[in-house]
């Protein structure tokens, strides 16, 4: 009885798994292998790729534009993650102590639901040097106008601010979900002891939120390193390379100059950075499970 049942399972199981396994092999496994192969060839999409050893990698190491793009990406990540995390933590803490309104939460989620491309266009218009509403406000205060997206010192902070606007609500809701797991009685007994809100936040919320915060931070970091959409509709990598991030660099190498092999090598370098971050994320995921069971 049990033997026949097991045999039945086996046959059914492969049918259950067939679509996922095909998808996995064709669009994850096979391309991953091909990506590694391209990175050691001179492939241009028009020629037959031939093996060039580590040439692409040594050239990358010497390529100023590649290092510049990494540096620019890092600058963006610092600006974006810094402001986004602090703001989201503040908003989450406020929500936690003020209200559980679903309408409010849905409103905060709105910018995240909108395509990055739309967000980019919206803010290109709001930040327009001559006609934008933000510069209208600034000039009425006798400041500016500021070329937010056209001045090379302002461009990257502006992009970071735009994406902070788009992702703060989402991040805040993730942190808020973590805060809801903190037992309510801790706050009640702290209030009896006369602790003020700031003290409760410092002594109760923040320490107990740490695993969730760490996880959210790593997820945001991984996303932040992959910024592309917003730049592709606002500054197109300019002015003067000020916003030419690593994703944009890879995109242009592959699809503007058709240096497929070179782009694949750069993609692997980025994948390694992201791989380290993802490994940390997996570890934190396990840690956060055990802490907030």
């Amino acid at each position: 009885m049990s033997v026949t049942k097991r045999r039945d399972d086996r046959r059914a199981a492969w049918w259950f798994l067939a679509p996922v396994l095909v998808g996995f092999v064709v669009f994850y496994g096979y391309p991953a292998v091909r990506g590694v192969w391209y990175s050691v060839t001179d492939y241009t999409m028009l020629n037959t790729p031939s093996f060039v050893g580590a040439d692409n990698y040594t050239e990358l190491a010497r390529d100023g534009e590649f290092w510049h793009s990494l540096l620019v990406t890092l600058w963006y990540v610092v600006l974006n993650i810094g402001s986004q995390t602090v703001l989201a933590l503040g908003v989450a803490a406020l929500m936690h102590r003020l209200t559980r309104s679903t309408v409010l939460r849905a409103t905060l989620l709105l910018p995240w639901l909108v395509p990055n491309v739309t967000v980019g266009l919206l803010w290109t218009w709001l930040l327009d040097t001559n006609l934008g509403f933000v510069n209208h406000l600034l000039t009425s205060l006798d400041i500016g106008p500021v070329g937010f997206l056209t001045d090379d010192t302002w461009a990257m902070p502006s992009i970071a601010a735009i994406n902070t606007w788009a992702y703060t609500g989402y991040t805040a809701l993730l942190l808020y979900a973590g805060m809801l797991q903190v037992p309510q009685y801790l706050y009640e007994s702290a209030a009896i002891d006369g602790a003020n809100e700031w003290r409760m936040f410092r002594r109760i919320t923040l320490p107990l939120l740490r695993p969730v915060l760490a996880l959210v931070l790593v997820v945001s970091l991984i996303g932040s390193f992959q910024i592309f959409d917003t730049i592709a509709v606002t500054t197109f990598g300019g002015p003067v390379n000020a916003t030419r991030v690593i994703y944009y660099f890879i995109y242009e190498q592959a699809f503007r100059y058709f240096h497929m092999g070179y782009a694949a090598a750069a993609a692997i370098c980025l994948a390694l950075i992201l791989g380290v971050l993802t490994a940390i994320q997996m570890r934190l995921l396990r840690a956060s499970r055990s802490d907030l069971a």
Partner: protein, 294 residues
Amino acid sequence: MRSKNFTASRAFAWVVMVVFIVVTVFPFWWMIRTALTPAADLYTDNASLLPHDPTFINFTRVLGLTTEAEARAAGGSGAHINFARYLLNSIIYCGLIAGFQTLFCAMAGYAFARLRFPGRDAVFAILIAALMVPPIFTLLPNFILVKDLGLVNTMGGMVAPTILMTPFAVFFLRQFFLSLPRDVEEAAILDGNGPWGIFWRIALPMSRGPLITIGLTTIVWAWKDFLWPLLVGRGEENRLVTVALGVFRQQSPNTAPDWTGLMAASTLSVLPVLILLVFMGKRLVQSLNFTGSK
């Protein structure tokens, strides 16, 4: 004394919250307000909170409902734009991916959770390892693959990499199926149901919540997709809303962009997710609790 102080700080907290909400919502209002403004007024009226002379012409022209001459007169660049088409493409794209991916991943998740077969844990471990592969790594080879298969500029090529699976959905749904009580399924086995019967009649109906969560999250991500559909679906007939917005922006002259048209098109790209938020807001908000680890 203490309670008075308390209310004062609460009031202050509410003020901060309201400021934050205004900053969140205002750009959307400005988008709609600009979309309702006649292009000719753009230079004279760029600060009032309501358009002086509201018009729907920007919507009708980006939806392709006006003649080219009318569109040009209302501020268009003369390039052919048809957002009705692009919206439909995006809806088809999201529907295909969300529907099939959720079904296929539920099937696999169920098999990993409930069926017994050799190599189960090894296969699952390999699948989960794919969670660590960043999209950029497979993007270029996948493009070349789709190109070699002759699927560039087809809906098939656009949905191909995501319609069958994502590792996260398999992982998430397996976790859920593991948590289902076994006794109902065992009763169904005694009634003579095979694995398929149990899956369709018992497991799927019991997992409506998680299936909707995964489906909704997939819809949102698919709606936001840009780089892949830009590479594979740039052609007019399969162009998605996001890609069309990017193209529209680049066609628009840099010196004097067609802002009223762009904002009308942007409004159209927000409208479907706004509807989703109004009807499914609660579920979307709750889904964040599950998918925070994505």
